[in-house]
């Protein structure tokens, strides 16, 4: 029944820019600080204070605009968005309205390394964040934390180009990746540095006219976006199927209950009374600034993908996973620089390292385990100092504590025994104690040899170099035959 409708989705994405200080004052832009400690007269909107643009804000916003293939407007303006709310101390938000920083961009969605779909970006503009209300159920009042007030944001508005909740999620993941690559934000939805509102409408397949759209807010993870939109598709389809009409409204997603509910209707919608911000001069982006930004632009994912498959001979599968996270890609490249074995590095990263990351549920950039650690670990294996199996043990140990692999090997006595004299004694001992197996071997029983190798490994607690053990056993057994 659902598939008689085409789903039309457009997004408004807010992204906090990763600057040292806030957008219009010198206060620190930092998540998680004690409430109301990163504030000053400017971001508290005290009478007489005035905004001064943090230039780095503009640099990061331009990096984002270029990463999203936007046309940058050489002349744009700040505007005041007026509304009353306790988290907005000036009772207006400095944003951009008629003349945004950039427009007409696009983001390509890839499938199996091939461009699959293009989502157009209508506009990208700068604005300041508001504070945060903290509701305390035990009191009849709420607290306000102004630390976030004045933190720089970009708002990215897409065209209504998305056609399903799943595709919307894919788009958001691609957008996050692109913005991580452009080094403009940490894009953490759980910390609110990436937030997303969606406009969604349905229309019968084949029609051109857009259906009545509904705005959905409060979807706080990629999964929530997909779930919220899936719910909304069903809700709207049910109304339309009964011959009903969709109301123009804003709805709130409730993650716990898995439903959306009415937040405000069109009649109660804000009139923001935008007008040009008189306290700030127009934003002028001349060709010189733009070309400087362009030449300092961090490497973007497609380029890196091509480079990784060409320069390091990674498979499309390997490159695809490694570039999906810029920090993972950095990790790969730094490790490879140290040990020059891209295939081995890729195998370890995609195998054990990713598995461990998932187990401890953390990001690679915050890990105490660094590229130098992995390079050292691989060197220990190559030098025959440890076996592959021991290496896994060392990796686990080094992973969370950040201890150097060589140190762990030395401390725990995990080093591989490659000393022929030392091993010869063990081999002799094993042969003496297992005369039955020696006999079996001489009678041609194949698994007897494997058993003897295993016994040597057991006696050395897995540290014996298996290549040397095999050679020694072979020599001794052949010798005794003659």
């Amino acid at each position: 029944m659902l598939n008689i409708y085409e789903i039309v989705i457009g997004l408004e994405v807010h992204v906090e820019l990763d600057t040292q200080s806030k957008m219009f004052c010198p206060c620190a832009n930092r998540f998680g600080a004690t409430p109301n400690t990163n504030v000053c007269p400017v971001c508290l909107g005290l009478p007489g204070s005035l905004p001064v643009l943090n230039e780095h804000t503009l640099v990061l916003a331009l990096q984002a605009a270029l990463a999203l293939n936007c046309r940058v407007n050489p002349f744009s303006r700040f505007a005041r968005k007026n509304y009353f709310y306790p988290d907005l101390p000036k009772a207006y938000q400095i944003s951009q309205y008629e003349l945004p920083l950039a427009g007409s961009g696009c983001l390509e969605l890839f499938k199996d390394g091939e461009p699959a779909r293009k989502v157009n970006i209508e506009r990208l503009h700068l604005e300041e964040d508001a504070g945060k209300l903290l509701h305390d159920e035990s009191h009849a009042f709420s607290h306000v934390d102004y630390n976030r007030c004045g933190v720089p944001l970009i708002e990215i508005v897409t065209n209504p180009d998305l056609r399903s909740p799943a595709e919307t999620r894919l788009f958001l993941e691609a957008l996050r990746r692109m913005l991580l690559y452009a080094r403009v934000s940490d894009c953490k939805m759980e910390e609110g540095s990436l937030r997303c509102d969606a406009n969604i409408s349905l229309r019968p397949h084949g029609t051109k006219e857009l259906g009545q759209k509904v705005e959905i807010k409060n979807m706080n993870s990629f999964k929530a976006v997909q779930r919220g939109l899936e719910y909304e598709v069903e809700r709207q389809a049910a109304i339309l199927n009964q011959g009903g009409r969709i109301n123009q409204e804003t709805r709130r997603w409730h993650e716990d209950k898995g439903v959306t509910s009415e937040m405000r209707t069109k009649e109660k919608d804000h009139d923001y009374r935008y007008f040009p911000e008189p306290d700030l001069p127009p934003l002028v982006v001349d060709a010189a600034l733009l070309s400087k930004i362009r030449s300092n632009m961090p490497e973007l994912p497609e380029f890196r993908y091509r480079r990784f498959t060409a320069d390091y001979a990674l498979s499309h599968y390997q490159a695809g996973i490694i570039i999906s996270d810029p920090y993972l890609a950095d990790f790969f490249e730094e490790t490879t620089k140290l040990n020059n074995q891209p295939q081995k590095v890729a195998n370890w990263l995609l195998g054990d390292v990713l598995k461990l990351l998932k187990q401890v549920d953390t990001d690679i950039e915050t890990l105490p385990f660094k590229p130098s650690h992995l390079a050292e670990l691989l060197m220990l294996i190559d030098g025959g100092k440890i076996s592959g199996r021991t290496a896994k043990e060392v990796l686990e140990e080094s992973f969370s504590a950040g201890k150097l692999p060589a140190e762990i090997v030395a401390e725990k006595g995990l080093g591989q025994i490659s000393d022929t004299n030392e091993l010869e004694q063990v081999v002799d001992d094993v042969l003496k104690k297992n005369s039955a197996a020696v006999r079996d071997h001489q009678e041609g029983k194949k698994n007897a040899f494997t058993f003897l190798v295993g016994s040597v490994m057991k006696a050395t607690r897995g540290k014996a170099n298996p290549v040397i053990v095999t050679a020694l056993l072979q020599g001794k057994l052949d010798g005794s035959k003659q």
Binding site: G45, P47, G48, L50, K90, F275, P278, D279, P281
Partner: protein, 306 residues
């Protein structure tokens, strides 16, 4: 009183409680031109905490005083001496202007057709910006907070109802209306266009003239407390001075004579950042008119009445 409204951007607005951000400018109000120059010397200059502050070399304004004014060119716009200006006032101003020509100042009548737009443009821009600037007095963070009722809306409404006076409320309502969706183009946007027209007219005049000389107000000074219940007359009394605000040009007002025993102001509007020569001109005029003594006497009597 001598009053100077400096060029927009010459004096930092940081710390100034904003009314209309694109018009607000701090200036000295002093007993005479010399004091005015001395105060300006101190308060003028670039401030990196005000993005509209202009970075330029610092000037020494008091040093201009006493300089020759021969050869200065002053324009007398017809629109500022005709309808809406009390005849005795324009006569006193004209009389003072006549003295200027004897000092060697070249005078000529000009026309500034956009003058008619100044008042509506000013009251739209000023009220619109004020409605936004005064929105922060909402009772949440500081100042008066009327918290009798449980709802947030009631807190806003009661605080602002009690805290603001009638004139402020009137301006907030006018400005809110002018910015409302559906009215923005008809009011605020049109006001910005009028502002550009006035700006262009002024630029044209300043190609040929150093100053524009006009009455400061359509009437002589009114007594303290007089007329405050008649907002329209109060708004109209700004008619001569608001063009300087809208264009950002500097303007000085000095007393130039008397009507009915009360002083009449003469306004000199100059090119942006030409405060030095304007003060030089006003200082010369002040010396020539020689009415300081009588002004001090009036000020004394007005003071007694209060």
């Amino acid at each position: 009183m001598v009053g100077l409204k400096p060029t927009y951007g010459l004096v930092s607005r940081y710390g100034l409680v904003a009314f209309a951000s694109s018009l607000d400018q701090i200036g000295p109000l002093t007993r005479d031109v010399r004091d005015c120059a001395i105060v300006l010397d101190i308060i003028a200059g670039y401030d990196r905490w005000d993005s509209t502050s202009v970075c330029r070399e610092k000037e020494h304004y008091a040093a201009y005083l006493g300089g020759e004014v021969r050869g200065f060119k002053a324009a007398l716009p017809l629109e500022y001496f005709g309808e809406g200006i009390e005849k005795p006032v324009s006569d006193v101003v004209m009389d003072a202007v006549g003295r200027c020509s004897r000092l060697g100042v070249e005078l000529a009548e000009v026309s500034i057709p956009s003058t008619v737009y100044a008042l509506p443009a000013y009251y739209l821009v000023a009220t619109a910006e004020a409605s936004s600037n005064l929105a922060r007095y909402d009772g949440i963070q500081y100042g008066l907070s009327v918290r009798g009722k449980a709802s947030l809306l009631a807190l806003y409404q009661d605080t602002r109802k009690e805290g603001f006076g009638a004139e402020v409320k009137r301006r907030i309502m006018l400005g809110t209306y002018a910015l409302s969706s559906g009215y923005y183009d008809a009011y605020y946007l049109k006001a910005m266009k009028m502002r550009t027209l006035i700006h262009n007219d002024f630029e044209k005049i300043f190609k040929d003239y150093d100053f524009i000389v006009t009455p400061t107000a359509p009437t002589a000074a009114f007594k303290i407390g007089e007329r405050k219940d008649d907002p329209l007359t109060m708004y109209l009394s700004d008619i001569c001075t608001i063009s300087a605000n809208l264009t950002g040009c500097p303007a000085v007002s000095i007393p130039c004579g008397f009507v009915g025993g009360m002083p009449v102001g003469l306004q000199v509007i100059g090119r942006p950042f030409d405060e030095g020569r304007m003060l030089q001109f006003c200082y010369c005029l002040e010396e020539t008119l020689g009415i300081k003594g009588r002004l001090v006497a009036i000020a004394g009597e007005e003071g007694k009445e209060c």
